[in-house]
């Protein structure tokens, strides 16, 4: 499809959906409420939203959807660290009912027993999976959960009178950048530890960095390299020795479910992403859902409100909502968190059980090591660090050798890969691993699919050597062509909304072809996805 920007589809007078009329009885009672508005409060000109019939709105967005590559469509193992696993359709079907969509969070808890029970049960299941004492499901994403981690740590130190001294947070370069960023937002100085030569987290460097000024260490494990820190308990112990807390970014715990637990390594707080390890869909970038799990000592600092389970004298069980206590960091989000994803994650765990979670972890790791072997067979690809050792659930690879041979960058290879119906991402900046790409097959893809993906990767690598121009000028089979990034970094040229675009580019000549009559008719000729 060559679908215009929606504003170009407007036709005056068309309607997409009608609003229920004001009842005569209401109108008689209140009069013309718009006319009664004070002049300053009455909008002068209507908002310039498009005017479109219902089917045209639908068609527009359905066509856009077909121009998007969902995880349900490709072998989505290229978004490493993101844990793109199968989000079961039954879970979407189960939540799409008025008993959930039409619930208001301040209804009588007696009318909300189902959703409260599910929330409470999921908290308990995640407590068992993490080994922690208490769990909160309030946050809407992994980074928000990281924020809650550091907010609780901050509150803990303040409650102990150490808030002023403990001003530093230590993390590692292969931990998710939000650990550094959220701690910074909470007012901390950040110390970043780089790995040793083998790619393992450097315990000596940590010990050198720790001090009474340390509020916490905040680390991922396995790190984005897929390397598990075998000295993780020593890390935690070292932090504890200086009075710091240890926070574990378990956004992606997919490789170690049922294998090892945060609390068993001594961590005080950790979080999971329900949209990674626990299968809720990534939704184009949210809503996800975070789960914060904490030790007994940190439990009073959890955000509120909390779901509690009451057992009456007669043994009957009922669930209730309790406001946050005095030590709580308070609200971190409206009400109880991303309820649709809470129910999805609960359903996913219930479909698998203990043996299923273990199977998910083990197969994810098997898939990853199988993929590692296959990728390393491609000339020009490498997996820096920990040579010859197994990885857990993902690997950060490098095209450095291919780049040196051909000048084709990892980013260019990724773009060309999209022409094969696959994709990958490189990694977070900075590119500590040169020309990086990060793959994580999870447990959801079959051996045949992994082979298919590696086949496409090998083909692009071959092209990079034999027909580099094909790679360099990619994409060739997408709805849109190579896009110029310089437009996006220049305040004079960027256009963040259609409104700004029309203002900055008043002539139709510059950079647009929309509205050229039959242009949309080229349709399928450029269709993708």
């Amino acid at each position: 499809w060559d679908e215009p920007v929606i504003f170009e589809l407007s036709t005056p007078g068309e309607r997409g959906v009608l609003v229920t009329p004001i009842e005569p009885g209401v109108r008689d009672a209140v009069g013309d409420v718009v006319a009664q508005l004070p002049a300053g409060l009455r909008r002068a000109a209507p908002p310039a939203l498009p005017e479109m019939g219902q089917q045209r709105v639908l068609k527009h967005y359905l066509r856009l959807s077909q121009e998007n590559l969902g995880a349900d469509f490709n072998v989505d193992i290229g978004q490493g660290t993101c844990t793109m696993k199968y989000s079961p359709k039954i879970n979407d079907q189960l939540i799409g009912v008025p008993q959930l969509t039409a619930m208001h969070p301040l209804q009588d808890p007696a009318d909300a027993q189902g959703v409260l029970e599910i929330t409470w049960n999921l908290e308990r299941m995640l407590a068992e999976i993490s080994g922690m004492a208490e769990v909160s499901l309030h946050t809407q994403g992994g980074s928000a959960a990281i924020w809650a981690n550091i907010a609780m740590i901050r509150a803990y130190h303040e409650a102990n009178g150490e808030g002023a001294e403990r001003r530093e947070v230590i993390t590692t370069i292969f931990s998710h950048p939000s650990n550094a960023a959220a701690a910074k937002a909470a007012g901390y100085e950040i110390i970043t530890i780089h790995p040793d030569a083998e790619g393992y987290p450097d315990l000596a460097a940590l010990k050198a960095a720790l001090s009474p000024r340390t509020a916490a260490i905040m680390v991922t494990n396995p790190e984005d390299t897929g390397i598990y820190n075998p000295a993780i308990k020593q890390w935690v112990d070292a932090a504890h020795e200086v009075g710091a807390l240890a926070s574990y970014d378990q956004a992606n715990a997919n490789g170690i479910l049922g294998i090892t637990r945060a609390r068993d390594a001594g961590f005080d707080v950790c979080h999971f992403n329900l949209h990674k390890t626990f299968s809720t869909p990534h939704a184009c970038g949210g809503p996800g859902a975070g789960a914060n799990a904490v030790s007994e000592a940190l439990a009073p600092f959890l955000p509120g409100p909390r779901v509690v389970r009451d057992v009456a004298a007669d043994g009957s069980v009922c669930f209730d909502v309790q406001e946050a206590g005095p030590l709580s960091i308070g609200a971190v989000a409206p009400f109880h968190g991303v309820v649709p994803n809470i129910v999805r994650a609960y359903s996913w765990i219930m479909a698998l059980g203990a043996e299923g979670l273990l199977a998910a972890a083990e197969i994810a790791v098997l898939n990853n090591n199988y993929l590692l072997k296959r990728v390393l067979e491609i000339p020009g690809a490498s997996a820096p660090y920990a040579e010859g050792r197994r990885r857990i659930e993902q690997v950060r690879y490098s095209w450095q050798e291919l780049f040196e041979d051909t000048g084709i960058s990892s980013e260019e290879i990724g773009i060309r890969l999209s022409d094969f119906g696959m994709h990958y991402w490189t990694s977070h900046h900075p590119y500590v691993v040169p020309q990086p790409f990060t793959l994580e097959p999870t447990e959801s893809y079959s051996m045949a699919e992994i082979d298919e993906y590696v086949g496409a990767l090998a083909e692009v690598a071959r092209e990079a050597r034999e027909t580099p121009e094909v790679v360099r000028t990619a994409p060739h089979n997408q709805t849109v062509h190579h896009t110029h990034h310089d437009d996006l970094d220049d305040p004079e040229r960027w256009a963040i909304t259609w409104r700004a675009y029309r203002r900055k580019y008043p002539s139709t000549g510059s950079g647009r072809r929309f509205g050229e009559g039959a242009s949309a008719a080229v349709g399928l000729a450029e269709s993708a996805a």
């Binding site: 979407d92 009318d111 960023a181 068993d264 059980g353």
Partner: protein, 466 residues
């Protein structure tokens, strides 16, 4: 796992495949891959979880059974708002956001994910029209976060610490904002007068150490701030930034804050095409002018238009990516991560369906229903309105004159299947009406509270006589 464990979600549990893969990598067992996990950290037992329901039909029965314990606002007559609102969601909105392509996508490039980039650019653009501002972010988590970030931006831009809060704010939102900004900013409350800002009181506290003035409109009581232009002038006079937290639902008829001088407008999009979801479906927007000073302080992703290799073609991409924590880790602005993109797409579809006329009619309907509900409830002897401000969707009543408590009204009406509102204090009830609250519904509420008031008065009279 045992060898007989084969699960539909995990294809390579098929025993022959599993063995073939182990053989390919030269591993005797999966155990080998965990060589780096020290023995003392190994769990060494099965997790204690409920027995699984591996057959989909059993799972479905179980979860449906749990959810059947809920009684939704389809079954109860609800006047609950207070942050989560019961608006009608057109079927096309759900159709679009339930498309597997959108639901399951994540973070592809602007090529294979062209649709996502365009849909979110359009969301930004549609919101921009409604708000009359040139820049809107890809949604952050919710209105709480949006406002917290909006205030933090003001602090970073001005380098000042004081924030004057001139509206009545939802307590949970205040809690979140406070904890988020307290390292960098001090929140000072300027008490409201008759529901809205005390402009004179504000003026007396303004100074060149003020980073921002924070207005909420509608406020927690649903009061629409009528003095926004004056507040803007006062704030700007001392170099402070006017941050307005709002719900965009009314801007088909109400003047958007930007046209009254607001610098940063932020809030929640739940009202625009999202179901209530027990409070679990919120998204936050932050809108500013096309001014790098403001834009470079925004943490969220911003999608923009770009040219491509094909003359005349429009592509999409990240604007000023180097602002973000993805690029700069702790040197980025706050952080960016998975937030609420799909809800943004939903809000975009909603606004496209509603169009200017729909948003206008909806705004008018909400004003009319609100006014009608105020009239009906205030007509009950002993019940008075909380203030004289203009209200949109929410308002408060004081029931003390009828010898009632807010909690007592809630408790009594719940027995009739009515959720009459949210108690704000002992005698104040916040009542919310939307386009889904019909005249008959409002009349029913008025009758129920009226009956309570009558009974209470009768009892009191009787007691007085006795």
């Amino acid at each position: 796992m045992t060898d007989s464990f084969v699960h539909p979600y995990i294809p390579n549990t098929a025993p022959a495949t599993k063995q073939a893969m182990l053989d390919a990598v030269g591993a005797a067992s999966i155990e080998e891959f965990y060589a780096d996990v020290p023995a003392e950290l190994r769990l060494g037992r099965a997790l204690e979880l409920p027995a699984p329901l591996v057959a989909e039909q059993d799972l479905a029965r179980h979860v449906r059974g749990l959810l059947a314990k809920n009684r939704s606002t389809d079954e109860r007559l609800s006047f609950l708002g207070h942050g989560t609102y019961h608006h009608y969601v057109p079927a096309v909105v759900d159709e679009v956001i339930n498309r597997s392509e959108f639901l399951t996508a994540y973070a592809g490039e602007p090529y294979e994910d062209h649709g996502r980039f365009q849909a979110l650019f359009q969301y930004q653009s549609l919101m921009a029209e409604l708000l009359a501002m040139d820049v809107v972010n890809v949604p952050t988590y919710d209105g709480y976060q949006a406002t917290a970030t909006g205030l933090a931006m003001a602090g970073r831009i001005t380098g000042r610490r004081r924030v004057l809060v001139v509206s009545d704010v939802l307590p949970a939102k205040h809690s979140k904002v406070l904890d988020f900004v307290r390292v960098h900013l001090d929140l000072e409350i300027v008490p409201t007068v008759n529901g809205t800002a005390d402009v004179a009181g504000l003026a007396s506290r303004l100074g060149d150490d003020v980073a921002a003035v924070w207005v909420e409109t509608p406020s927690v009581t649903g009061a629409v701030e009528a003095s926004l232009a004056a507040i803007a002038d006062a704030a700007h006079a001392v170099g402070a930034i006017l941050v307005v937290g709002t719900d965009p639902i009314g801007y088909g008829v109400l003047t958007p804050p930007a046209e009254q001088g607001a610098d940063i407008v932020c809030g929640d999009i739940q009202s625009l095409g999202l179901h209530q979801w027990y409070g679990g479906a919120h998204g936050g927007f932050i809108a500013v002018a096309d001014d790098p000073t403001f834009i470079m302080e925004m943490p969220s992703r911003l999608f923009g238009l770009a040219t491509t290799d094909v003359p005349g073609e429009v592509g999409f991409g990240d604007v000023a990516y180097e602002r973000t924590s993805f690029a700069l880790r702790e040197e980025g602005k706050e952080w960016v991560g998975t937030a609420a993109a799909l809800w943004g797409i939903a809000a975009g579809v909603y606004l496209a369906l509603m169009g200017p006329q729909g948003m206008r009619e909806l705004g008018e309907l909400l004003l009319a229903r609100t006014r009608y509900a105020q009239q009906r409830l205030a007509a009950i002897p002993g019940v008075v309105l909380g203030d004289d401000a203009l209200h949109l969707r929410e308002f408060t009543i004081d029931v003390s004159g009828a010898g009632l408590t807010a909690a007592g009204v809630v408790e009594a009406l719940r027995r009739d299947g009515i959720e009459p509102g949210v108690p704000l204090d002992a005698h104040t009830l916040a009542v919310c009406v939307t386009e889904l609250t019909s005249q008959a519904d409002i009349d029913r509420l008025a009758a129920a509270i009226g009956a309570l008031a009558e009974a209470s008065t009768a009892t009191t009279t009787q007691e007085t006589r006795a």
